[in-house]
Symmetry: C2
Subunit: 397 residues, 2 copies
């Protein structure tokens, strides 16, 4: 059972989330990833705090989530010696991937044209905030900003208090599009021998995942008002009951699309069956929600989930992370695994949610320390142990 | 400039969002996709209403968003005649992809083993709610339910009112993982000639995009309380000012991570510089937010965005869809294009956010009508015009 990307070599200059989350999937598929990091602090994500904290080892838990299956080579990109090392690595690389602001790496001698001279069939993948050209090319690009500019934040909050999505979905979407972009380019290279440049960006990716809502905005006539319901359904376009409801034990359940006639019977409210068309029930969505709310508060989460599922209704418990981690299906699917970290002992990792029958993903290399593999990588390029040590010590100055 | 997946044949049984959004990317890359639909209504997404509405042509705007570059073949899967047609198509297919509930297609004679007999190197990709086995295999799987079970909903709302993310991120994430799964399998097939089964699911994908937060839950010691701030920052783990702020013109801006010392100078509040550590400023996040809020309300959105960007601070306007669509960078990036639909005239589509220098994505085939290509596809399998017409009329009965 050989892995899909065994032998594929990736030179990874990415930091933060979108780049590393995307390339990690390629590592899980067996690609050989060299992560180029700054000497000293390394990837800026290592110091990104959550709840004002990092882990005991000094790295952010966010960094640990996205950097398994990568080897770390610490270099000072501005030195000629680093350039020599990177150009040697580029000679054999299938893919170079980077998410510096547009133009930054090129100025340092690590642009597509530089690598192409060494390795004509190299794939050079860039990830930026807004694209490699255009009016915002010099603006800072980041998850919260992409969410806000894409229209997602105004959809997600209440009208009074718009709020960003509570996980970095702009980064996550871009990570996945970046992975798709690289796999597509690798397929083309396997087919034709040809490399190329490809790029993705946060703003475009965040727009793309809203393709349903944006298509409604572009193609519904007359264009409806894109306003959230007063009583808080899941999205501006949702009719009732679609949304989250509190139960008698102060937990919550989710209820999806249910035809009015069926809903009327399920909660014994015959009046609800009077809404005969989607337009009528959409117009009355706040009233309908209040009727449903009253009923759901009368019994427990477990009661309602069991009851609704017995009628094959779209219903689920609203879980805390603790409940999710102990959910029998999550345990069954092995969404969480443990891996030995060189400093922290056993850490929890979140697996890539793809199951191949013949080429299973692997989870065998912990997120690296900064420069953990510098010596090994330099030696693989022909440096002696002493030469490698000398390069490392000069780079760290 | 040949397209990446030119010549790759995909037999697509998927409906709703996660499947069609994933396979559409493969179509944009040039794959030849035959979408198998129910006679009559077709993909259930066609009748999925937004704001209680569908388009004038009768199809949901959601369907239009996710089904370009596909040919529609309408069949009644339960008939022997449909099976004959599908098996003929399977003979040349590289990929079969489906998102029926686990076991349903297999029972009808369209499982992996059935197709493998005809075509040993076929890739068979399944998308389900929770995986192909395990305790929830027979539960309905759907975006809202996956968001709720994964822990995302409790992160996203306020403590009092948890709310689902206002776009179907569980579906979108699964679509992208599905696309990655297929591209990986195609690469392996190109390399080795070998096909295989692969599957993805909504719940696992929604967990995976929260890998930062879940890693914090698993790996921070002591484990912090995963509670939202009282004043509404973007996520439970965010310190101030990270979040959305109202401006004097009743618009909003987003402010990302800003070191306290810099923030103190930017809004002329020297006291803020007294928070020296991340722990301190995290603990005081609600107080800090209120100080920032007061200042931001004193000036317009444009003022603040210009001011903050002049210091290279993570700042952006919070756009409506109208503002986003007219944003000069969105126009520059061509995130939205127009395409001619057989019934609706010109419709707006949202492009796939990947730019290849040598193998550009294409957007030339509108989302099909149900069975629009049935005759063409049957004829390509060797049926005469008359035979094709007879099959179509028998299938529609």
């Amino acid at each position: 059972m050989e892995q899909i990307l065994k032998g594929v070599k990736i030179l990874d200059f990415t930091q933060y989330k979108a780049g590393p989350m995307g390339t990690q999937i390629l590592g899980d598929m067996g690609a050989d990833i060299v992560k180029i990091e700054r000497c000293g602090g390394g990837d800026l994500e290592r110091s990104f705090s959550a709840f004002g904290m990092v882990t005991e080892g000094g790295d952010s838990p966010f960094f640990l989530a996205m950097n398994r299956n990568k080897k770390s080579l610490a270099l000072n990109l501005k030195t000629p010696e680093a350039k020599e090392v990177i150009y040697k690595l580029a000679d054999e690389a299938d893919v170079v991937v980077q998410n510096f602001r547009p133009g930054v790496l090129k100025k340092l001698g690590y642009g597509y044209e530089d690598f192409k001279k060494i390795n004509p069939s190299v794939i050079y993948c860039s990830n930026s905030g807004y694209g490699l050209d255009g009016p915002y090319v010099q603006r800072p690009g980041q998850d919260l900003l992409a969410q806000s500019m894409s229209g997602l934040v105004l959809m997600n909050g209440t009208e009074e208090n718009p709020v960003a999505v509570a996980t970095s979905v702009a980064d996550a979407a871009t990570a996945l599009y970046l992975c798709i972009a690289i796999l597509g380019a690798l397929y083309h290279k396997k087919n034709t021998g040809e490399g190329q440049e490809v790029d993705v960006d946060l703003l475009s990716s965040t727009i793309a995942i809203q393709q349903e809502e944006i298509s409604a905005y572009l193609n519904l006539k007359p264009r409806p008002e894109f306003k959230r319901s007063k009583t808080g359904l899941a999205a501006p376009w949702n009719g009732a009951p679609y949304g989250i409801y509190r139960t008698s034990d102060d937990k919550f359940i989710a209820l999806g699309v249910i035809p009015m006639e069926k809903l009327a019977k399920l909660i014994d409210e015959p009046d609800l069956a009077e809404y005969k068309t989607l337009e009528e029930s959409f117009a009355a969505r706040d009233e309908i929600r209040q009727v449903v709310e009253k009923h759901i508060r009368e019994n427990t989460q477990k009661y309602w989930v069991d009851y609704m599922l017995s009628f094959d209704v779209w219903c689920a418990p609203v879980n805390t992370y603790e409940e999710m981690l102990n959910d029998p299906q999550v345990v069954h699917n092995q969404n969480i695994r443990e891996i030995e970290h060189p400093e922290l002992g056993s850490i929890g990792i979140i697996t890539t949610p793809i199951r191949y029958a013949k080429t299973p993903l692997k989870y065998d290399m912990a997120p690296p320390l900064v420069g953990e593999h510098s010596e090994e990588i330099l030696k693989s390029l022909g440096y002696s142990k002493e030469e490698a040590a000398a390069v490392i010590s000069r780079q760290e100055k």
